[in-house]
């Protein structure tokens, strides 16, 4: 079985400041890793994912995440946040084999203050 822990339930930061949202996972098998974002009153949208290859993956809106196998982590970072980044961020894993079964973390609410 897999489990995901997001260490911070809320992260408040000022606009243009850097941010890191932490994600650790536990699994007895190899997994794919995902970050999804949920803007207010909307469904989740994929932000980025790690499948294989380079451990650093990027999104189109400036976020990046690094897969660290030894630390079983997949932390999400952005060097300079914008008000529009205010949202709930979910880390998730899925086993490689079989039908996709996403296991989500508890979510981190990112609040950007002007």
């Amino acid at each position: 079985a897999q489990s995901v822990t997001q260490l911070d339930s809320q992260v408040p930061v000022f606009e243009e400041a850097p941010v890191e949202l932490r994600c650790n996972y536990s699994s007895s098998v190899s997994v794919y890793l995902f970050w999804y974002v949920q803007y207010p009153n909307q469904g989740l949208q994929l932000l980025l994912k790690y499948l294989s290859g380079s451990t650093l993956v990027e999104s189109i809106n400036g976020f990046e995440a690094e897969f660290n196998k030894s630390q079983t982590s997949f932390h999400l970072r952005k060097p300079s946040v914008h008000i529009s980044d205010t949202a709930e961020y979910f880390c998730a894993v899925s086993r490689l084999q079989g039908a996709q079964k996403l296991v989500f973390g508890q979510g981190t609410r990112l609040t950007i203050n002007p």
């Binding site: 469904g43 989740l44 994929l46 709930e88 490689l96 039908a99």
Partner: protein, 114 residues
């Protein structure tokens, strides 16, 4: 054009009633999912269908019965509603059932059981 749509958006009902939530996707995807998000924002998969066939059935009370009349629709019927069923229910779809796929989420249905 809405990719994954759910109706209704809000549902308020009494304990013991039976209710249904409908989901439709116009993306041409083969696989659809139902998730439950509780009051602490924890998101957990309930069911997954691939081409109208059930492929994932998590530990969900049998009061919950999904139905997929065709691969573009996945409805969720809930019998004998209980207070603990109050949550936001999200429908999602993906191109195929493989683990590396992106899932596209609907806007959610907020169910309140009184």
């Amino acid at each position: 054009d809405t990719a994954v749509s759910q109706t209704p958006k809000y549902l308020v009902t009494q304990m013991g009633n039976d209710k249904s939530i409908k989901c439709e996707q116009n993306l041409g995807h083969d696989t659809m999912y139902w998730y439950k998000q509780d009051s602490k924002k924890f998101l957990k998969i309930m069911f997954s269908y691939n081409n109208k066939e059930l492929i994932i059935n998590e530990t969900v009370p049998n009061r919950f019965s999904p139905k997929s009349p065709d691969k573009a629709h996945l409805n969720l019927h809930i019998n004998s509603l209980e207070l603990g069923d109050s949550a936001v229910y999200f429908c999602a779809s993906s191109l195929i059932a493989a683990s590396y796929n992106e899932q596209f989420f609907g806007p959610g249905t907020r169910l309140t059981v009184l």
